[in-house]
């Protein structure tokens, strides 16, 4: 591991200055569960590591029914999971965050970091996508927002421009009769990276027999986490039937472009897409209080 400088600024403007000063040679440190490992293994380099955990805005969670949820980018997974508003309104996110590492990792790792690391197999990202989460980005030229599904651009690469960093993630308030779920497939029961991850959210109509809308997202089956928009759109207005759910799962499967690597074969991954999307939809429908038509 090469030596690097370390700074722990107190405010966002200092981070902007530090990033600008290093011209791409600086890395943001939140929990460090990805960054430190990558630095040690020589997979990433840094001349400067900027620890953002001392900046209040980056480690806060706020919620109000009108504006929804705002999670500081460096907020730890365990802090998010223990927030009562998160557990009440954002079940898909809770599903995903519970899967990220064990207790020790969850005490360090942040959802913002999970997003910035831009792993195709990140558990939090498909869950954020189905919750319609938005990234809040700051840099020398001010702030901007980006839907989560547009944030990852390639394995390990995100949409941040040089000098920019992620400050928070916001999620709109969920509607009535909303349900969401995330699940992943791993060969063991713990300690693994998703072979395939699938998130789904649904909004049901007043008698909970039809979909008003649906979102479906996949992980580990393409260079970036995928929003399967056609599959979601297909369900809008349709009855809650096994047949429709299976068709949506098939449509989501069709957009997956998995590869064979050490964690799974392309064939098995493709197969799993349909299985997991169906199961994620089951979860979402159940949480929305819906039932399958007989």
């Amino acid at each position: 591991m090469q030596s690097f400088d370390y700074e722990a600024p107190q405010g966002i403007s200092e981070v902007i200055q530090l990033l600008a000063g290093k011209n791409g040679g600086a890395r943001i440190l939140a929990g460090g569960t990805d960054l430190l490992v990558q630095l040690r293994e020589g997979r990433r380099n840094a001349r400067l590591v900027i620890d953002v955990k001392n900046i209040p805005e980056l480690t806060q969670i706020t919620f109000d029914p009108k504006n929804g949820l705002r999670i500081g980018a460096a907020t730890s997974c365990s802090q998010i999971c223990s927030d009562p508003n998160v557990s009440e309104h954002f079940p898909g996110l809770v599903d995903a965050i519970h899967l990220i590492g064990g207790v020790q990792i969850q005490n360090r790792a942040s959802v913002g970091g999970n997003l910035c690391n831009a792993s195709p197999a990140a558990d939090a990202i498909p869950a954020l996508i189905v919750h319609e989460a938005v990234c809040h980005i700051t840099g020398l030229n001010g702030t901007r927002t980006l839907p989560v599904e547009e944030f990852c651009v390639a394995p390990g690469k995100n949409a941040l421009e040089s000098g920019e960093f992620l400050t928070s993630i916001s999620i709109p308030t969920t509607k009535e009769r909303f349900g969401a779920g995330y699940l992943r497939f791993i060969p063991r029961n713990e300690m693994d990276i998703a072979v395939v991850g699938a998130g789904a959210s649904v909004v049901l109509d007043s008698d909970r027999k039809r979909f008003v809308s649906a979102r479906i997202a996949l992980g580990a089956v393409a260079p970036t986490p995928l929003l399967a928009s056609d599959a979601g759109a297909f369900l809008a207005g349709k009855a809650v039937t096994r047949e429709n759910v299976k068709e949506a799962a098939r449509m989501a499967q069709a957009v997956a472009k998995p590869i064979t690597d050490l964690r799974g074969t392309a064939e098995h991954r493709k197969h799993l897409c349909a299985v997991l999307v169906e199961r994620a939809l089951d979860k979402a429908i159940e949480r929305a209080g819906g039932h399958y038509a007989e």
């Binding site: 497939f185 060969p187 063991r188 300690m191 693994d192 990276i193 050490l262």
Partner: protein
């Protein structure tokens, strides 16, 4: 844990006293190799090959030597260029040239991770930075990664001087086939003609690692007078001494090996990797101590995994359920240098059954993967996976319960194996009967897509050379020195045998694992030999103490020695008696200290048999297999410390489940190991395993004073086969490739 109800005729053996090293282990005080810190110590790091197969054209270390903080660099040029010579080393043989080349590659690198150079520096950080400055020029060659391709004419050749050992004779052509072996009995063609059902199947298994928690480490001090001290994590300190002496061409008497506590070995810590490098670096750095420690990726890429294999087996049975003939072919990956456990696999494959007509053939084949090392019943799991799956299928064809079919064909005392040797008193039938009557086997299967499987296994176990030495303390306790590294609680199981023989409590024995200068020659802790063979040494030592103490009692009582008797810890004559402790207090009056020692090489080791039952649940959509319930029945001879015996069985089963379900070495086409981390080398974690129940059968081994048999290895033999049979029972699919990963299960269902 259940033991068949039998009164325990012993006072100490069969009980569970506090383990002597327990406090040190649970408080973290126990000293492992990584804890060694010596004044002036340097830290070493090893440069490893990024290629699976390449010629080394040149190694330039000139830039490294300029880096501040670097004190020594070594390459194969610093090692004696050894001629091929085979050296007997306890459990196995090594070719010292190949072993030297495995420690540091000379002309060629033969696997991804093969050591090429090593440096010693003032810190690990500097040492690792120094590795980047070593320039190695390679000529990359095509890798050979599959045993069957390696055997083809025209395959790239790994070792220019390798010739096939063909039934004891050397071949004449360049080859990757190191050995070809064959056992046969009866008339196989006649046997198959008598069969009503014949099952023939091919099996493939992948290279897997022992997965011990503690990585390899070694610290060495080379003194200006040529005396060498090595602290390391090893299963056998004398084996390290011999190997280092051979590789460096120094006398064994110049080397002292101090075995540290060991965090698991499972056969993978018999051969040396870092020890010779630490010695060389210490010598070259001006006699400073040098410490080398592997990280996990080095452990996985470059230390002893066990063989992947290709196995073909054909077995026939007549209408009465009698096996009439069996034929097996085993082809095992040796890794980069000869020495796969194919011979042991050949011994295991048909051992549980009476086979009157059989042929077993084996090939040892080199491929561009790490040199394989022993792994718990080496070669046995692969072999049993094949044989026990076919046994299950034959039982199915015959419409017989799989345990009944095994009972019809089970080997008993006096039955001959395919290699001609006859079984001594064994407890295979007893394990089958206990399995059949077990609560597990009697319980109905519940839930959809669940299945139950049974498989049996054999392991021959081993004896070997052991020494022990004991001295009686004036407070009535006994200090015990022994040369066996303590894996799995052998300090205590040995102390208990001494205590039983002397009639004193186990707590009154202070066992110490001694270094190579402090105890007689003792082979490593392998082959399930320690409780048996070092147990014999301890028993003989205790007998020696008793004889000497009888003399002391005779002096005290002024009688002839033959008038002094000993029983249950009490010395007595017709008129007097003294307990062991009382007599110990009087040693000063009768001639001073009493010590005894013994060195043994007992041959009466008895094989272990096991029968396992497993229930699984298969998710047919994802292909995931969950283990719901597991029961391992094993003939343990006599459980000296039942809780340890149970732990050995549970550990073996856990490893066998990992091997069966998810563990495998994944290489890309260039032969680069893709999953050299515990994240991606998928060993089972706690949530993957149910409680593993055990049933201990005690068919005493007549070759041991307390009836002990080796217990540590046979429990890894049946699990993959038992799981395969359970999967078949659940979803009707016979899987013939390990691991039975979710993708393979889904494929099987197509």
């Amino acid at each position: 844990m259940a033991t068949l109800e039998k009164p325990n005729q012993y006072k100490v053996i069969g009980t569970s006293p506090l383990r002597h090293d327990g406090v040190d282990k649970v408080t973290g005080r126990a000293a492992f190799g990584a804890d060694i810190r010596l004044p002036g110590m340097l830290y070493g790091a090893v440069l490893r090959s990024p290629h699976a197969h390449a010629k080394i054209l040149s190694i330039d270390t000139s830039e490294v030597e300029k880096l501040h903080g670097v004190h020594a660099v070594v390459t194969a040029k610093d090692l004696p260029d050894l001629e091929s010579r085979v050296v007997e080393l306890g459990e196995g043989v090594i070719n010292r040239k190949y072993q030297s080349n495995n420690v540091l590659a000379r002309d060629k690198v033969l696997y991804f991770g093969h050591a090429v150079a090593a440096v010693a520096a003032t810190s690990l950080h500097v040492a690792k930075e120094a590795l980047d400055l070593i320039r190695v020029e390679y000529e990359v060659l095509s890798p050979v990664l599959d045993v069957r391709k390696a055997m083809e004419t025209g395959s790239p050749i790994l070792l220019e001087d390798l010739r096939t050992d063909e039934f004891g004779k050397k071949g004449e052509t360049r080859t990757n086939i190191a050995g070809h072996y064959k056992d046969a009995c009866g008339d196989v063609e006649k046997g198959f003609r008598e069969a009503k059902f014949i099952v023939e199947r091919e099996f493939v298994t992948k290279m897997v690692h022992q997965g011990y928690i503690e990585p390899q480490n070694a610290t060495a001090q080379y003194n200006p007078d040529g005396q060498i001290t090595i602290w390391c994590s090893t299963q056998g300190s004398f084996g390290v001494r011999e190997q280092v002496a051979e590789i460096l061409e120094v006398p064994v008497s110049d080397i002292r090996v101090i075995p540290m506590e060991i965090g698991g070995g499972f056969g993978g810590k018999i051969g040396v990797y870092l020890e010779p490098l630490a010695v060389l670096l210490s010598r070259k750095s001006g006699y400073r101590p040098v410490k080398l420690t592997m990280d996990r990726s080095e452990v996985l890429a470059a230390t002893g995994p066990t063989s992947g294999s290709y196995i073909k087996i054909k077995m026939g049975a007549d209408a009465n359920g009698r096996i009439t003939a069996a034929e097996a072919l085993l082809v095992y990956e040796a890794g980069a240098y000869p020495g796969s456990p194919v011979g042991a696999g050949m011994g295991v494959i048909l051992a549980p059954y009476r086979i009157e007509n059989g042929v077993v053939e084996g090939y040892d084949v080199v491929v561009n993967k790490p040199r394989t090392a022993a792994y718990r019943a080496p070669g046995g799991t692969n072999a049993a996976f094949a044989a026990e799956t076919v046994i299950d299928e034959l039982a199915e064809r015959l419409g017989l319960d799989p345990i009944e079919f095994r009972l019809l064909n089970a080997s008993k005392e006096g039955d001959r194996r395919v290699n001609g040797s006859a079984h001594k008193r064994i407890g295979f039938v007893e394990t089958l009967q206990a399995a059949k009557e077990s609560a597990h086997y009697q319980a109905p299967l519940t839930g959809p897509r669940t299945g139950r499987g049974v498989a049996s296994g054999y392991w021959g176990n081993y004896g070997g050379k052991s020494s022990a030495s004991a001295s009686v303390n004036e407070d009535g306790t006994v200090s015990l020195l022994e040369g066996s590294v303590d894996i799995g609680g052998t300090r205590t199981s040995l102390a208990m045998q001494l205590a039983e023989t002397l009639g004193i409590p186990a707590e009154d024995v202070r066992p110490v694992v001694a270094d190579t200068d402090s105890i007689g020659y003792t082979e490593g802790t392998y082959g399930s030999r320690t409780t048996f063979a070092t147990g014999w040494a301890v028993y003989e030592t205790a007998k020696g103490l008793i004889e000497k103490l009888k003399e002391r009692a005779a002096i005290l009582w002024e009688v002839e020695k033959d008038k002094v008797n000993f029983e249950n810890g009490v010395f007595f004559s017709s008129e007097e008696k003294l307990t062991f402790k009382e007599l110990a207090e009087k040693l000063d009056e009768t001639g001073g200290p009493v010590v005894a020692s013994a060195a043994v090489q007992p041959k009466g080791y008895g094989p272990g048999f096991a029968t396992h039952i497993v229930d699984v649940e298969v998710d047919p959509e994802t292909g995931k297999v969950d283990i719901l319930r597991y029961t391992a029945v094993q003939d343990v001879g006599k459980a000296i410390y039942p809780a340890y015996v149970e732990s050995q069985i549970q550990g073996g089963v856990a490893q066998g489940i990992g091997w069966g379900l998810n563990e495998e070495y994944l290489y890309d086409e260039q032969g680069r190991l893709l999953n050299a981390s515990w994240l991606d080398y998928r060993m089972p974690v706690a949530l993957d395993l149910p409680m593993i129940d055990t049933i201990l059968i005690e068919v005493a081994n007549p070759g041991h004073p307390y009836g002990a048999r080796g217990v540590g290895e046979v429990p890894i033999v049946p699990p993959p086969a038992a799981i395969a049979n359970a999967i078949h029972n659940a979803i009707g699919v016979r899987l013939t490739e390990l691991p039975m990963s979710p993708a393979r299960v889904v494929d099987g269902l197509k």
